[in-house]
Amino acid sequence: MVADIVVFIGLWLFHLCSLLAKEQTGIDFSTFEFSCIQHSGNSLDICQYVGYLMRNNIFTELIKSRALEKDELRPLYMDFQATTPMDPRVLDAMLPYQVNYYGNPHSRTHAYGWESESAMEKARKQVADLIAADPREIVFTSGATESNNMSIKGVARFYKAKKNHVITTQTEHKCVLDSCRVLEAEGFDITYLPVKSNGLVDLQLLEETIRPETSLVSVMTVNNEIGVMQPVEEIGRICRSRNVFFHTDAAQAVGKVPINVSDWKVDLMSISGHKIYGPKGVGALYVRRRPRVRMEPLQNGGGQERGLRSGTVPTPLAVGLGAACEIAQQELEYDHRWVSLLAKRLVQKIMSEVPDVVMNGDPEQRYPGCINLSFAYVEGESLLMALKDVALSSGSACTSASLEPSYVLRAIGTDEDLAHSSIRFGIGRFSTEAEVDFTAEKCIQQVKRLREMSPLWEMVQEGIDLKSIKWSQH
């Protein structure tokens, strides 16, 4: 113990002296090559010994363990639909473009610009290859929200003279619904198609809703709340036959399910970087060239990105997105198998031990990594609080400022009390079996505990039908 204290103080004094020496003489001892000291014995021993002293000192250990504790004891991450951690390979690809190859890709006159531009074009090709598109059809944006805004507002406004009708669904992402609301205020006619109770769009209804004045249909590929996958191929076929542009928000689908924009007859597709283990703040928009999709640009300026989205393309972010897409293409099948395995494990475990659990959304037509379960007679937010060691998300009201449950659950017709009881589990590339097992066990345990505290569970056990009770409206 005494030796530890002595060594620690000694090292601290050495650190101070080296800092002072740097100020006075400019010699930096921290990177000083000890090997150039002519010392009897192997010069490596000194470094190793100093390192050994520092590592095994009780103070450095204490400091390290306190710092690590705060980091290691963070909750398990099971919210892959909200965002995903960046794959380390993506970070490796991005880093040179942050500090070394920092030129503006639109600079025509020097090597910095040329190397940046070639990196950007390489990234464009990587993104295009993932969705079987041509690189000239990819536009880099700041994310799927911007891509959605661009495509909906841009296409609708361009064809405003002859066509003023846009069709979308009630389960779209907020950015799509809000863009449509803005268009309504501008005088467009928007139809928000209802969905069936399994979350899928009724194709018959879609065909009937398309009019000669329809310019755009927007249906997302994979829903971010309940995970259902829409019949995109059929919708594309219908739209192509009626000469209507088809936009799909594929933020949750890209890199997770195989996509082919020609087979699907998609005209516009939104891609998000941070949903496929890429960087945050970048996305892409696929805009078909044959037949050409015309749109009014939302962001004007120097005419970059075919004039559709002016502004300097952030090379490191674009390179990151490209790398993420390439990795996703290579690992798509493996990831899909892994995620399906874990999802089946989680759902089977929970549903076999806990009665009265409902999975929202179609059980077959879905992306397996997004599971939305409703635990009857238990409120979603209290369950989230109980599962504080797991990072999850809920479709319940209490997490939003208003007392209304999620609009997606309302659109698929979930009972209001079940809508308050839903939790979304997200599984991704880096999830492990141990995490899934822990989550399932904790979930089962806490649901049982909360049901003991629930008056609704008690009434159901006594045989009272909850629908027959007249509740006091608050």
Binding site: K70, S382, D417, M453, P455, L466, S472
Partner: protein, 164 residues
């Protein structure tokens, strides 16, 4: 020179301290009183609904995401001797109802009627979005007391009828 030395001495300590105690966003998490009531709820359970000393209040609606059932047992002197609750609701709702059961124990009926939702909210430091939980808890205790009073009136009416 002395100042430089002092600054150089302090910096590693400050950095290490910042490493070891990263500030968590305390605002985003729950207040620890709410968490305490949630983790160790007091008085969860049920009393015999049919007993003449027990008043039951059931308020809220599953459609709103909040249902509270509060039961109180009153002795012959009009003092509340036991209280139990069951809640379907978020953490703040559970904490509010748990707190109310703690507060009413040992109070007389008149005193229990004076419990206000603002007291509950202040005690648990509820944020503005969660104030409706405290209001529901106040409604629950009032409903339980009302139910007890109605039961007592019915008993009196029965007694008067029987004596006639």
């Amino acid at each position: 020179m002395a100042g430089l030395v002092a600054k150089k001495c302090i910096t590693p300590l400050v950095v290490i301290r910042r490493l070891t105690y990263p500030e968590y966003a305390a605002q985003a998490a729950y207040h620890k009183k709410v968490v305490d009531h949630y983790e160790n709820p007091r008085n969860v359970g049920s009393l015999d609904k049919t007993s003449k000393n027990v008043g039951t209040g059931l308020v809220g609606a599953p459609a709103c995401g909040d249902v509270m059932k509060l039961q109180i047992e009153v002795d012959d002197q009009g003092k509340i001797v036991d209280a139990r609750f069951k809640t379907f609701g978020c953490g703040s709702a559970i904490a509010s109802s748990s707190l109310v059961t703690e507060w009413v124990k040992g109070k007389s009926i008149a005193e229990a009627m004076t419990i206000k939702n603002t007291d509950i909210a202040k005690e648990l430091c509820l944020p503005p979005v969660k104030l409706h939980c405290s209001m529901l808890a106040e409604d629950a205790i009032k409903a339980a007391l009302q139910d007890y009073r109605v039961k007592q009136q019915d008993i009196e009416i029965e007694a008067v009828k029987a004596s006639n």
